[in-house]
Amino acid sequence: MSTTLLRTIQLNQFSLLGTSLLRRRRSNNFSVRSCGSQTTTTHEAKQSSPTRVAPKNHKSNQLDEILRDYEAVIGIETHVQLSTLTKAFCSCSNNYGSYPNTSICPVCMGLPGALPVLNSKVVEFGVRLGLALNCDLSLKSKFDRKQYFYPDLPKGYQISQFDIPIASGGYVDVDIPLEFGGGHRRFGITRVHMEEDAGKLLHSDTGDYSQVDLNRAGVPLLEIVSEPDMRSGIEAAEYACEMQRIARYLGVSNGNMQEGSLRCDVNISIRPIGQAEFGTKVEIKNLNAFSAISRAIDFEISRQALLYNQGKADQIVTETRLWEEGAQKTVTMRKKEGLADYRYFPEPDLPEVILTQEYVDSIRASLPELPEAKRRRYEAMGLGMQDVLFLANDVSVAEYFDAVIGKGAEVKLAANWIMSDIAAYLKNEKLSINDIKLTPQELAELIAAIKDGTISGKIGKEILFELLAKGGTVKGMIKAKDLVQITDPAEIEKMVIQVVSENPKQLEQYRSGKTKLQGYFAGQVMKMSKGKANPGLLNKILLEKLNAKD
């Protein structure tokens, strides 16, 4: 059937100008990225790194002075696309990147007579996220219809939640990275509600017509609305980062910004410091990366502050602006003519969503340790904030780290191995920590083998890379390669004596005051031992021999 449907859609091409679409769009899930970037695949594992959030734009001292008089008020609406197997209200598979209109059915196409049936996973994920964001859950919530016309919205309404969201009144804690001043912040969460995504428009190259791809129509979303608690681009970016982290920790979404699985719309106004009422609110869309959130907000704060300063505050109007990544600025997308009236009313095709306290409790019990709890635990374990943020940032890294210390490895050493050698390896090989062959068990073994002197640190680093790439056990490798450290003083002494006797010239120079040559002798002995001599013992015996008056 899908081929017939696809043909139908293609036959129903309609002519319009690309730009006219932007003006007429009324939904708030819209962003221009949906109009043609769907083929880009990305290695987005790194986008989540808070260190990628760019520092503030350079500003003149004058601007800095102006900015000092104003305070920004920032709220964020985040759409999280849920990684359920099927769509929210039909049994179509929910997979990104399929050929247009191959994952559709009468329900998500809005055919006459088709009815929605709620996927219970959507409720489960809503409850999970609501609990993770410290919200109160509505044991009785409902769906509503949000009505507007747009070709990517098959039914002419979006099934959403209006006055009774599944969760509300929560908060989220974040740690600001040290390079941006550090510090702990708590931002309020107004509400979390369930809704469905719209399809996508594909515009022809000539701009003569557009086509509708409904693969995304009906994909479940959770919309998270924050309180207007953020005051800077960095805070906002860190908030968005935390949303991604929480979604990934919970396993409710892949949180991929480039694919549109995590979409942030920013609301921002500024006001003179000391003023209680809010200024005029501007909405910014098209924020495809955390750095874009941060920079777009900083740009917007400067723009608005300058207008205030120049007495042109009336030029700050309620509007939606787009972030232009190339030009690094925001531009007007559309001015809002009064409030859009979506004519919300209760969705009569779906019964109320009733949750029992037992159900909520069972979900609560199944929640994993969340980023904030992990950070506080790592901090309590004695790790510095830099290490804490690094390890807790990525759920896979955190799980790996926890597994390594779970096997008894020393915290500090485990952190160092993961953050330095392993991180470097992952970066070079463009891998994620899930791809490596070195099990947490073996990393713990490796750390222990070095600590108890079985192998030297140097040997340890050498075999690390082989373990990362090929796997295997530390014990097995030590045995196969005969890597056990030489700790027998007699054996080391034998080698020292041999090296000293084979280098009479250097010995003479040493004894005549060139003590730096100790390093040369140590190197020779190490070489002879194939790197296996215990360095402490070696140096102790070497010094004895070099300084012996014989």
Binding site: P106, G110, P112, R343, P348
Partner: protein, 537 residues
């Protein structure tokens, strides 16, 4: 089981017996003018078909041929069907093959069924009588249709209706006006006018309609057939093109209570594709359909019947009123205990109904935007595409209700209209509940008048809306109700039928069917066969 059913009869496909009328108002209960000995109670066409197929008396193909030829003869005048299936004979052949092979037959084997055009039939045009869906063929069967087909039923075709169910005369069809078989100058009622008229004219044995505010019951009354509106949730709405989702139900037409009941049984039950369908058990209604010989002297002894006072007040035709009162007397004669009940919220129902139905329809009809299917008018610009596709695709009545609904849901008006209407709805539910705690069933006329002339109320929508007063409250309360012919009033060549509405408690269709069947089988001198058939024959 068969022994308890009506005695086998030769399959008289056309039980042609013209109703004799010699008085101004002939109530069926008063049998003075009719020689009752020549009129036997109406027979279930479903059971008759089954028996004659199983006995080898006739074949499914023969039956189908005779119905098709009657459609050919009567359709030019009646215009009940928007589409007649090309597969009727093929489907009938399959039934005959099954019989020849001795395979088991479904309970609806060989039964010819008309399906209202707003109920999806796979590959067969389904337009809801709207220009905006002209030529649209759904890729799936509605659950009710699927069940019918699985049980051996044959879809004869798609019946005419008011566009998207919005109307009470079937004149609001974008394609044709259906005539009432009792008087071709009169409307068959609506919105399921095609389904009602087709059963009345024996163009099919039974049919499916949909009832949002009376769209099964009122045309049943106008056409002299049985119309059954089940409890909301009893039948899956999957595949029914939504008009007002919280009120819509698929209902059944038959020339007997038994036929309507057996069709309901076939389509009832929980459906995982409709979250508003109910998991309530569906009882085996068939045991209620005893033959007259098995009735006791007072077969409805002790059944408490409440006659709704508000439905017999001003604005109801005197003929309708007396037919209802005589029907009540007949029930009393059968042993029922009759009392008068009052539903204080009764008059509030109509405005609340029009607010809710219009609001929901304004939303449900948004999907007809010309982008994916149906009527599309090419345009240079998006809003023009919407304007032209919808402007040309929808008829006047539909546009008016979309406008009313859009207004009622607008910011600032929601509380005054939609929310208030929902409060009224709660009130109406309460009143019904109280009345049904005191009574087994409630009765009222099905409509304030018998069928009126085509065009008579076309330009007076308020007068037309007022005709729904008897039926809308039942939808607001989600209750089951059945309309069955109870008498004739003056009009047309041989009188016009009038229906009695019986309202039951939620999910108690069984009681309605029991009372209705006994009422029907014992109604002396009644044979609600329209004169048209006699003329044709």
């Amino acid at each position: 089981m068969l022994s308890t059913l009506q005695p086998p009869r030769s399959l008289s496909l056309l039980p042609l017996r013209r109703f004799q009328i010699s008085k101004t108002i002939v109530s069926a209960a008063s049998s003075k003018t009719i020689d009752t000995s020549v009129i036997s109670p109406p027979q279930s066409q479903i059971l008759t078909t089954r028996r004659s197929l199983l006995s080898g008396e006739t074949t499914a193909v023969e039956i189908a041929k005779s119905y098709l030829s009657r459609i050919r003869l009567t359709e030019p005048q009646l215009k009940c069907f928007l589409h007649v299936s090309e597969n009727v004979l093929k489907d009938a052949q399959e039934i005959d093959q099954r019989i020849a092979k001795g395979e088991e037959l479904g309970p609806l084997a060989g039964v010819l069924i008309g399906v209202k055009d707003n109920i999806c039939t796979q590959g067969m045009p389904s337009t809801a009588a709207s220009r905006i869906l002209e030529h649209y063929r759904p890729p799936f069967d509605a659950t009710a249709v699927k069940k019918i087909k699985e049980l051996g039923g044959i879809v004869v075709g798609k019946t005419n209706m008011d566009e998207f169910g919005m109307g009470s005369t079937t004149e609001a069809s974008a394609f044709q006006v259906t005539a009432n078989p009792w008087d071709l100058s009169r409307v068959p009622g609506g919105s399921s006018g095609g389904s009602a008229a087709a059963v009345a004219a024996r163009q099919c044995m039974v049919s499916l309609g949909s009832d949002t505010g009376g769209s099964v019951r009122q045309p049943a009354s106008f056409c002299g057939v049985v119309g059954l509106k089940p409890t909301y949730g009893r039948v899956s709405r999957f595949g029914l093109m939504a008009y007002a989702s919280s009120l819509d139900v698929i209902g059944c037409f038959g020339s007997t209570v038994a036929d309507a009941g057996m069709l309901l049984h076939a389509i009832s039950g929980y459906d995982r594709f409709d979250s508003t369908s109910s998991k309530q058990d569906v009882p085996e209604f068939q045991s209620q359909f005893l033959s007259v010989d098995h009735f006791e002297s007072k077969p409805l002894n002790g059944v408490k019947v409440g006659i709704i006072r508000e439905t017999l007040e001003d604005g109801v035709d005197s003929g309708v009123r007396s037919a209802t009162q005589e029907a009540a007397s007949h029930l009393e004669a059968l042993g029922c205990i009759l009392t008068e009940v009052s539903l204080p919220s009764f008059s509030l129902g109509l405005p609340a109904y029009y607010v809710i139905a219009s609001s929901e329809s304004s939303s449900n009809l948004s999907r007809y935007d010309g982008v994916r299917y149906g009527n599309q008018v090419m345009a240079e610009e998006l809003n023009k595409l919407y304007e032209c596709s919808r402007g040309e695709g929808f008829g006047g009545e539909v546009k008016m209700r979309i406008l009313m609904g859009t207004y009622a849901l607008s910011a600032g008006y929601y509380d005054a209209y939609y929310k208030r209407a929902q409060q009224v709805r709660t009130l109406i539910r309460k009143d019904f509940k109280a009345a049904l705690e005191q009574n087994d069933i409630l009765i009222s006329p099905a409509a304030p008048s018998a069928a009126y002339k085509i065009g008579e109320k076309k330009d007076d929508p308020l007068a037309m809306y007022a005709g729904d007063i008897m039926t809308v409250n039942v939808n607001l309360a989600g209750l089951p109700a059945m309309v069955l012919p109870c008498g004739l009033v003056e009009g047309g060549p041989s009188g016009l039928p009038v229906g009695l509405q019986m309202i039951g408690a939620a999910f108690d269709e069984e009681k309605l069917l029991k009372v209705g069947h006994i009422f029907e089988q014992t109604l002396k001198g009644s044979s609600f066969v329209p004169p048209l058939l006699a003329n044709v024959a």
